[in-house]
């Protein structure tokens, strides 16, 4: 390990950018500025990944500075085989968001780019934080730029949507804080997450804390029935907002379960597992059916996220080696694929000014580059074997069948419904006679737009056929999680 505080650099680079950027006058300069900062951040994340020691489950690139010693609060960072991937995902989507907003955001460009930079700094911080209070502060702070992104640059109903988003997530957060404090007082007054994972808590306490965390995380995931903010937020958000929301913010909920609920509260996790599996199964099927009846493409993808995130929570609560690794790889892949789908929707909306599925047709003939990319992402999302979605789906289902035949069956039903609505979009928008809203003449992708989409396509194919690098880096951390998950006492 080098002595450089690389994680701090990773967090501070966009933050510094966010401070400087408002002083720039020209919109174009602001765009380039944001792009350069976020791309540099991405390169740094790639460097971290390549120097990451895949044989160890320990937190790496650790940093620790006392912050409020009297209360045991510290600035503590580190990444393990799980979080390092989400750092990569966040930084990858970051610069893609800038490119995706290049021409679609024309008002208050500096402010928008500042929000993107701030957002990235906070998101990377969340994935690196190893102190509960630091985590909590970053987690909460994320709300603000996201609220602004939806509320200022969103669609017609943006104020309602952003407010709903804000309220839902804030409500969860307060309980989250109470849960943190309960752990703090029971584990010897420390906010060090690793110490909190090692401590043992009585079952009764675990159950209460689990419930407190559950609300916070379930809103973020989102799990049915706390999912209703998602379609509104997605439909109203600008493209970059949707990409971040679907690509990273939803993952935070699952990451919360992975980082807090499972290792810190193993007995409670086992206690609640049947309920979580049932809720996930409902989300998979119900989200799928909701997606099936949407006529608005953005809503359809939003509901498909509810269904696909259900696979993730299902995999997490199987406590099975296959199910868990499936859940984590599905988290990453869903970020890539759904991010890409929202990108495609943004691109086509910019051209046709409509999100109605029925307004388009024959896009593969009219705009072939766009058509092929959109087709690839739709197929990845329906988990075509050979593309990235399939790996996670197969692993999660293999894990789920070990726990409950019903959960497995619900997963399979969700996959079937998923194929139905995604192939429906494929058929309607991409094939058939050429059709565009009001007979508009659509134009194909330019190099900048290709530069957004191609890296995502690379991951779609790479992780579909060769997910081994991902799993190799992930495995030690998952093995450790499996040990932490073994309950010390049998729950009553």
């Amino acid at each position: 390990m080098t002595g450089l505080p690389v994680l701090s650099m990773l967090i501070l680079l966009p933050a510094v950018g966010a401070v400087v950027l408002p002083f720039l006058r020209a919109a174009q300069t602001a765009r380039w500025f944001a792009f350069v900062f976020l791309f540099a951040d991405f390169l740094l994340a790639v460097w971290i990944l390549t120097t990451f020691d895949a044989s160890s489950a320990a937190m790496q690139f650790g940093e620790h500075y006392a912050w409020v010693p009297s209360l045991g609060i510290s600035y503590r960072l580190g990444v393990d085989g799980i979080s390092v991937w989400f750092v990569l995902l966040t930084t990858l989507l970051g610069w893609i968001c800038v490119l995706a907003s290049w021409t679609s955001i024309t008002t208050r460009v500096q402010e928008f780019m500042t929000c993107l930079l701030a957002m990235q700094s906070l998101m990377v911080g969340v994935f690196c934080a190893l102190d509960m209070i630091l985590f909590y502060i970053l987690w909460e702070a994320m709300l603000v730029p996201m609220y602004l992104i939806i509320g200022i640059w969103g669609g017609d109903n943006r104020v309602y949507a952003s407010f709903k988003f804000f309220l839902y997530t804030l409500a969860g957060s307060l309980l989250f804080l109470i849960g943190i404090l309960l752990l703090y007082f029971n584990a010897g007054q420390t906010f060090d997450m690793l110490a909190l994972m090692d401590a043992d808590y009585p079952l009764q306490l675990q159950i209460w804390v689990f419930l407190a965390f559950l609300v916070a995380f379930a809103v973020k995931v989102p799990m049915v029935p706390l999912h209703t903010w998602l379609p509104d937020a997605h439909v109203q958000a600008p493209t970059a907002g949707s990409i971040i929301l679907a690509g990273v913010l939803l993952k935070m909920g699952a990451y919360g379960f992975l980082r807090f609920s499972l290792p810190m509260l193993p007995e409670a996790s086992h206690f609640f597992a049947p309920m979580m599996i049932a809720l996930s199964s409902v989300a998979i099927v119900y989200g799928g059916f909701l997606a099936l009846v949407q006529s608005d493409i953005k809503k359809l993808i939003a509901y498909s996220s509810v269904s696909h995130m259900g696979f993730i929570t299902l995999g997490l609560f199987t406590f099975d080696a296959m199910g868990l690794s499936g859940a984590v790889i599905q988290m990453f892949n869903h970020g890539i694929t759904t991010g890409a789908l929202f990108l495609c929707v943004g691109l086509i909306y910019q051209r046709g000014h409509s999100r109605e599925i029925a307004a388009y047709g024959g896009l593969i003939k009219m705009v072939p580059l766009f058509g092929i990319l959109f087709a690839a992402f739709l197929l990845a999302s329906m988990a075509l074997p050979g593309l990235n979605g399939f790996i996670g789906e197969l692993l999660v289902l293999a894990g789920a069948f070990g726990v409950s035949g019903w959960a497995g069956a619900a997963g399979v039903l969700g996959a079937l419904i998923g194929a139905a609505y995604l192939l429906g979009v494929y058929r309607q928008m991409l094939l058939g006679p050429i059709k565009a809203p009001n007979g508009a003449e659509l134009w194909d992708l330019n190099p900048r737009e290709l530069a957004c989409a191609l890296p995502l396509l690379l991951f779609v194919i790479w992780f579909g056929l060769y997910p081994k690098p991902f799993l190799t880096i992930l495995q030690p951390s998952l093995d450790q999680l499996m040990i932490q998950l073994t309950p010390l006492a049998v729950p009553p």
């Binding site: 296959m322 197929l379 329906m382 075509l384 074997p385 050979g386 790996i391 789906e393 197969l394 692993l395 289902l397 293999a398 894990g399 789920a400 069948f401 070990g402 497995g408 069956a409 997963g411 399979v412 039903l413 996959a415 079937l416 998923g418 194929a419 139905a420 192939l423 058929r427 094939l431 058939g432 006679p433 056929l465 060769y466 997910p467 081994k468 799993l471």
Partner: protein
Amino acid sequence: MLELLLSIRPILAIFVSLTAAVLILCLRHRANLRDTVSVVAAVVKFAIVISLAPLVLAGGTHDLTLFEVLPGVTFAFRVDALGMVFATVSSLLWILAALYSIGYMRSQNERAQTRFFAAFAVSLSAAVGGAFAANLFTLVIFYEVLSLVTYPLVYHKEDATSWAGSRRYMVYLVGASKSLLLAGLALTYHLAGALDFMPQGLFGDTEASGTLLSVVYFCYLFGFAKAAIMPFHAWLPAAMVAPTPVSALLHAVAVVKMGVFCLLRVIFHVMGVDLMGSLGLAIATAYLVSFTIVMASIYALTRDDLKARLAYSTVSQLSYIILGAVLLTPMAAVGGVTHIAAHAFSKITLFFCAGSIYCASHRRNISDLAGIGRQLPWTMAAFFIGSLGMIGLPPTGGFISKWYLVLGSAQAGEMVFLAVLLVSAILNAAYFLPVTYTAFFERAKPSQDQSLVAMQDVREIPMVAAPLLASALLSVALGLNPGFFVELAQLVMRGAGL
């Protein structure tokens, strides 16, 4: 360098047609060159496939593991006897189908020919990729690619009928694979921790209950819906909206044989014959496919549309192959595997003939064919040879495979299946021979339908007729000298432990 090229032949065989597809797209404005690419690629592909045959016939396999995907799951190829049968049949017939397509598409002045030839080429990549796949994961990738690339071939005409047909096609194929097949895969991976094909199956060491393993098996049996076992057969008649070359090569050979091939893999190399026997799965499947054999023949009998009759005949004949496998006797297995080739050569001939009739006369219905034998003597003679193959009469390959099947059912001591084979042979005769009779011995009736070409103006189209004569000859050649495929089938049989 040569060593390397020789060792990656399975991949080269796949890539030849993929490369061809790219070239076809690039050459879209130069029709002659574009169509030459198809033919050349088909010949090269067949040459590569057949160059692997000596090793396989000597009892060896050609293995090639590219990389590990998941623990216990690799992306890998293995050329063995069963894969060789499927790959040889599909790549050999692609040569004829490519020539035939050129004649057919040009005589019809069809639309979207570039898309047609490109998708056709990729389909062949998927078929051979599936044939050479070393495990379920690799196989399923090619299986799904095949569904996807044949979709544009089915909706080719892009009218209301073809959209409806292609929709049914996708709903059945993708629906079955996204539900049953996916569940089967996940359960297999959960229970066995691996997806490789093994001579004695994957579940030797698992403690899973017989019920659970039976569930897994039935997930595969119906999940691989391309095998068209009833009630998952309805996509096949629906797919007949495609241009006839597609029906001929894909929906009589590559696509449907992919389904059957996957099931043979499951029966022999995933479940294993011991488990198939001890759990009673073999006998249950035998009854299921017997029902399909007879019912599909009865359906065929009632269809006047020639292609629909052929499609139902395919549904019936595919189940012969599976019946051969699940009787679990050496002779039946040899018969089943040989029938992959025998049915392919005969059925492609019949479809080529249906296309030839359509091109020359725009006739689809058998009742309109009275007297057409005089106008299209070559086509109808080939049709007759194809019919003999379907019924199982010498000198065609169908005789050989059905002979083994009959011996195999006798070996199994199951008179029921012997009866099924005989009844079905009679039904086959009942719905194929009248076509020839009508064509040659009935007098042409003047038709009211203006869209039909007047009978006296109907002429053979050489470019269309030549490939169908060739495939009819192949079918006879197989009957006279079935050595190659029978030897491979015997290797499959011995490898499975029968």
